[in-house]
């Protein structure tokens, strides 16, 4: 039996006030394998750690049990400490006597008994622990940023500024994302284009950034530090190497189709730039609406182009690139309220629009050049109703969450209407007004003083009566039904994960939460990392947020990516699945279970039983770079061939046995 030391932490009064730590120490000393036990007020502190190190040296301890808080809190702290001591850092067990004991029990006597049990279990397990070694893998010093909105732009610029190569991938023909569609930004009312387009230009001019627009991720393989990503370069039908973006082709194109960028409020040609300030400032052809590509006739753009850039036979191409880190910045889309809200007319009334449509209406470079007009007849609306939480905070509509930015941009919309249309009236229906942010409450206050009328209640239905659109709802402060005859209705609709984000997460093996947003590794302590090593997240793809938070998170994830790329090689956790090949039957049950695609079936050499002939047979193999140590495969294995290092079946059973000796 190796000599085991037990150290009990008071955690100030967190543990010591709810159970008898001295009694636990006494009981620990009585356990046969334990040669030393001590208690201290703060085991994680500098003197606490020194106490442990001294005891190891003086008592010749070989294995350590620390009874303290959750291992999620300080296991890493104590492992680092052990590196200095000569004891392998995996010959350590934490008995959680805080979260699972002192914090949740009131009876001191029973809590003490439980603490003793927990210590006994930890001591039993640590006897079976084996020294583990971390391994190292090389890092490809290149980052991929997926999504060219403000989050992706910021992350790409930060990583590139730190000296690493970055590929910024965007599926649209231009970067800029949703922010490029906005008019002004709350609460300072600075123009969205004025602050985002210079950043877009910085991206295109940065020597470390390769911009890939009209591109999508096709497949992802590999692991942290060594991703292989297949990228589909969608056909642009315009040779961007020679195109100067003169715009002649756009003027000549006879096609008029709905502009998605203007949310259907205007038309665009089939050869088009997403918007005038697009980066790259060169057009692409939309094959769905181009007459030449569809029917072979037309060809006007080819004739007019002075440089011969047009190529109708352009095709999608696949390229494979290698990256060390991936930043996801896939953003959001607005909920399709038309299919959710029959009671709001289901999209039958052209003067009921969503928030992004309003942004295009009020935007100086939008379809009306900034005049707020009704889409139906072009008249200036005098009474506008703004409805908040359309789809948000409503389980029946599928979105239990708050979309966070709407309260503020609703106030901004109200401000813009009152400012641009003299004598106008604005009614805002709300559930709560949420303004947590610097300068936000002041902005909301100002909007109310400008004359916006806030009505607390939900709009139950929207219908047409004569020239008006009537919004009926309950004013829950007055306790009665109110009706507003509006000229224009703006629905501030819920944010949803962007189109195709679920498929992308599937390619990467990242988890999503129940609403479809990307699941961060830890909601508080690892907010910009995913559960897949080397994949970080930035912006709304993690959950609804506004521009300041998005940019802050983008820089944070860039910092994480830079930290990874700065290493020449990186340490991997040794607590991963390991296959006992002699037991593995090669059934492959573990392969589809693995959420990280870390298990593959490979053929290994063996000898045939009986004859001793050399043969090959399948067996599971674990990729150490991909495995995150979740343990799902160990449960699936029929023969018990897979064990999780550090949590081997016999180690856990030893622990259970200790409970009932």
């Amino acid at each position: 039996m190796s000599k085991t030391g037990v150290f009990i932490c008071h955690c100030g009064t967190n543990i010591a006030s709810a159970l008898d730590v001295y009694k636990v120490a006494e009981a620990a000393k009585a356990i046969p394998d334990v040669s030393y036990a001590a208690e201290y007020k703060y085991m994680c502190s500098e003197p606490g750690q020194q106490l442990i190190l001294d005891a190891i040296k003086e008592q010749g301890l070989k294995r350590i049990v620390i009874a303290a808080c959750s291992p999620r809190m300080h296991e890493i702290t104590f492992r680092k400490m052990l590196k200095k001591s000569g004891v392998n850092e995996y010959l350590l067990e934490i008995a959680n006597i805080r979260e699972q004991d002192s914090w949740v029990h009131e009876d001191t006597g029973k809590a003490t008994e439980k603490a003793i049990d927990l210590v006994r279990m930890a001591v039993a397990k640590v006897q079976k622990n084996e020294p583990l070694k971390t391994s190292f893998i090389p890092v490809t010093k290149r980052a991929l940023v997926i999504g060219g909105g403000i989050a992706g732009i910021q992350a790409a610029l930060d990583i590139a500024d730190a000296g690493h190569d970055v590929v910024l991938l965007e599926r649209e023909p231009s970067i800029g994302g949703r922010m490029a569609m906005l008019d002004k930004t709350f609460p300072t009312l600075d123009c969205s284009a004025c602050i985002s387009t210079p950043k877009m230009v910085d991206v295109s001019a940065h020597p470390n950034i390769t911009l890939m627009t009209s591109c999508e991720v096709e497949s992802v393989s590999g692991y942290i530090g060594n991703f292989k990503v297949a990228i589909r370069k969608k056909a642009k039908y315009v040779n961007h190497d020679i195109c100067t973006g003169c715009g002649l082709c756009e003027e000549k194109c006879p096609v008029k189709t709905d502009s998605a960028f203007n949310r259907g409020l205007s038309k665009r040609p089939a050869i088009y730039k997403l918007f005038p300030q697009a980066v790259p400032a060169k057009p692409v052809i939309d094959k769905e609406s181009c007459i030449k590509i569809k029917s072979g006739k037309c060809g006007l753009c080819e004739k007019i182009c002075p440089l011969g850039c047009i190529d109708y036979n352009d095709e999608d191409r696949l390229v494979e690139e290698e990256f060390g880190a991936i930043v996801l910045a896939t953003g959001y889309k607005l909920a399709e309220w038309q299919s959710m809200y029959d009671e709001y007319g289901a999209g039958r009334f052209p003067d009921v629009i969503d928030g992004l449509q309003f942004e295009r209406l009020v935007n100086a470079s939008g379809p009306t050049e900034g005049r707020i007009t009704r889409p139906s007849d072009g008249k200036e609306p005098k009474t506008v109703v703004i409805v908040k939480c359309v789809g948000s905070r409503d389980i029946k509509k599928g979105h239990p969450y708050c979309s966070r930015a709407c309260c503020m941009y609703a106030a901004k919309h109200a401000h813009q209407i009152l400012e641009k249309i003299p004598g106008s009236r604005v009614f805002i229906f709300y559930i709560d007004v949420r303004t947590p942010g610097k300068g936000y409450e002041e902005f909301y206050d100002k909007t109310r003083k400008d004359g916006a009328v806030y009505v607390r209640g939900r709009v139950s239905r929207i219908y047409k009566e004569g020239d008006h659109i009537v919004c009926q709802g309950e004013d829950s402060l007055l306790g009665r039904q109110v009706r507003v005859n509006a000229d224009l209705v703006v629905l501030e609709t819920a944010m949803e994960p962007s189109e195709g984000s679920a498929e992308l997460l599937g390619l990467l093996g990242c988890a999503k939460d129940e609403d479809g947003w990307i699941q961060e590794a830890h909601p508080k302590l690892r907010p910009v990392e995913t559960q897949v090593g080397g994949v970080f997240l930035a912006g709304v793809c993690q959950g609804p947020k506004d521009i300041p938070d998005t940019v802050a998170q983008a820089s944070a994830s860039a910092a994480k990516a830079i930290g990874l790329l700065n290493k020449d090689e990186m340490e991997t956790s040794p607590m991963i699945a390991s296959v006992a090949e002699d037991k593995c039957s090669g059934c492959g049950a573990c392969e589809p279970i693995c959420p990280y695609k870390a298990i593959t079936l490979e053929r290994i050499p063996d000898r045939e039983p009986g004859t001793g002939r050399k043969i090959e047979r399948p067996a599971a193999r674990v990729n150490a770079g991909l495995c995150q140590g979740c343990g799902a495969c160990t449960v699936a294995c029929r023969t018990g061939a897979i064990d999780l290092l550090g949590f081997r079946n016999n180690q856990i059973l030893q622990e259970v046995d200790a409970l009932w000796p």
Binding site: D342, G345, A346, Y463, K464, E465
Partner: protein
Amino acid sequence: MKRYAYFPGCASESTAKSTTLANEFVFGAIGIDLIEIKDWNCCGATSAHTLSDAMGLALPARPLARAEADWPDLDVVTGCASCYARLKLTNHRVRNDSEARYMAEKIIGQPYEAKREVLNFLDIMGDADVRKSIESALLRRFRKLKAACYYGCLNIRPAEVTGANDRENPQAMDEVAALTGAEPVDWGFKTECCGAAHQNDAALEARPLAGRIIENARACGANVILTACPMCQMNLEMRQSEYIRKREEKLTGKPQFPLLGMIKPPDPEQTIPVLSITELLAIAMGAGGRRLALDSHHVPVGGVIAGALRGDAESEVFI
């Protein structure tokens, strides 16, 4: 000939006299046989189910069980939205809840398996063959008849039970009305509650419900409201004069007292006639005003109908 077990409902023999006459005319003309359920009883709408769950379940279960026993291969049809809601819901519950079935069977003392469907007239008229026979039975066409089709809440809701796919903007009645040349208007109150069930016990809340339906129909350019339920129809008609009087009071600020219980007939300019969809079809199929007892309407319908038929070669002078 298509056959259905028919649940007439109490209103059919009293307030909905003209609609009942129209039903007989129309279904006779298009060759649909409605066989009245023997010894049917009140479905319990609208009070029974609010007072006792067992009573709310058993009252509709009894005629349904009788229909099932007498004609096991016929669906049940009714022309009243209230009856439809009670019958449909009972059928649904008995089908999906064995306890409810046990309770219903115990009270009515006969087996009831809810094997067949419960339908309303709009369901029947949704069938393509029925539409064809309606079309071929039409003799006259309306012109400039702007119809606001009012489905009522109970023909549509709850959608989980009725299977309606558009709760706010259904189309079935609009399509049938359009066959006669009437022009259905796009309006916002197709499935709003008219308050029929609560006009007596909660008048203050219920009165404006009917008023707003009338107001929106007129504002959207309708000159007639079409219904698929005798309760809705009665409610929308009977409350019009009171609603118009109240609106006058509100606009002028002067109380418009009725003279000793005599309610001043409302200005014909401000009223809107209310017809059931079968009445409209019957007229278009050639039925005269006397035959349909159209003069029994609270809001006169002759003017609008005659106007919409005028200029048609085949039409006689109306009424």
